[in-house]
Symmetry: C2
Subunit: 194 residues, 2 copies
């Protein structure tokens, strides 16, 4: 008897970047970003509760924020310490509850989504490489204008490539290892230690 | 010229359950559970800050808990409202910080992992279907004895199949839709509304 082993054909993907992105950003015909339907199955980066960058304390029940990134960009960050083109970082805001079921203290996430913001790296499309999109319940969203404070704040304070890697404890060590932390961030950290 | 298209061979996976689990629980020869190395790439269920089920408030800086589940079991829960055999739910505990970088209020996750607990459904192996494993920095862990309070508390108060789906806002609607909420949980919720 003759045993024939057939090797499966090698699949080649056309791509203008080094990374094969199964989760490319998608746009409507008039340039709105399409909300990635499956972002809750992407890689979780971190969460916060009641975070605020303003001096004034936020009022009311604190909100949770959950951050996710597409799996290909996550693995590329682990490999290189920075984001490839076509990265999509999704920030989801959810309500919180404290006493409920058997919970007595602290806060857990409860109820629906209060808002979603996506930070997209698409160098052929956006000046500076990145753009923000704010979703208010819709399936697509217009780009937030570049004059908005999110752009200047991320550019001034983002630890890596205008993103807040300082708040993602699993990624920060890879940025340190690959020396991809921004000069501005390193200067701020040095000041804070004094 | 002749163009030949070769179909890749169909891969068949042997499985004793209906769900094809790429992320089966693995055990050492002496029955310890192996910590799933890639759990941070699994599906995020939710997080909490400073949660406690005791009347006494916890002391010190509050901790974040992050919960993940293997992707196959997540999709099966979405389809059926309950967990298949071989489900692994990972609870990760992390420290928090409040003022750091540009953050002024609230809390974000910071630093390393303070502990990991895994809740595994493996009916052929565990009485009642499920077992808990507490990892204290090692790559494998002994089963927590059944007399421990985690078993009785999850059995008495878990919304679905001894798990705290009441704290996972993306899954709770699927349990409601498929009517898989436990009788004990429904009774508790009814009492709380009175």
């Amino acid at each position: 008897m003759l045993s024939i082993a057939l090797a499966p054909p090698v699949l080649a993907f056309a791509s203008d970047t080094a990374v094969n992105h199964a989760h490319q950003p998608a746009y409507t015909q008039d340039g709105e970003l399409v909300l990635p339907a499956d972002y809750r199955e992407w890689v979780f980066l971190s969460s916060g509760l009641g975070m605020s960058y303003s001096e004034k304390a936020p009022e009311g029940e604190p909100m949770f924020d959950n951050t996710f990134v597409d799996p290909e960009s996550y693995r590329e960050f682990v490999r290189t310490g920075t984001w490839p083109d076509k990265t999509q970082i999704v920030l989801e805001v959810r309500g919180s509850a404290s006493r409920g079921s058997i919970n007595q203290h602290g806060h857990y996430q409860s109820g629906g989504v209060h808002g979603v913001e996506v930070h997209v790296k698409d160098s052929a499309r956006f000046k500076g490489g990145w753009a923000f999109f704010g979703f208010d319940g819709g399936s697509s969203a217009k780009k937030i204008p570049e004059a908005a404070s999110c752009y200047s704040c991320h550019a001034a304070h983002g630890a890596v490539d205008t993103t807040f890697v300082q708040f993602y404890p699993t990624l920060l060590p890879f940025a340190q290892q690959h020396a991809t932390l921004s000069a501005a961030f390193l200067k701020e950290e040095e000041k804070a230690l004094k």
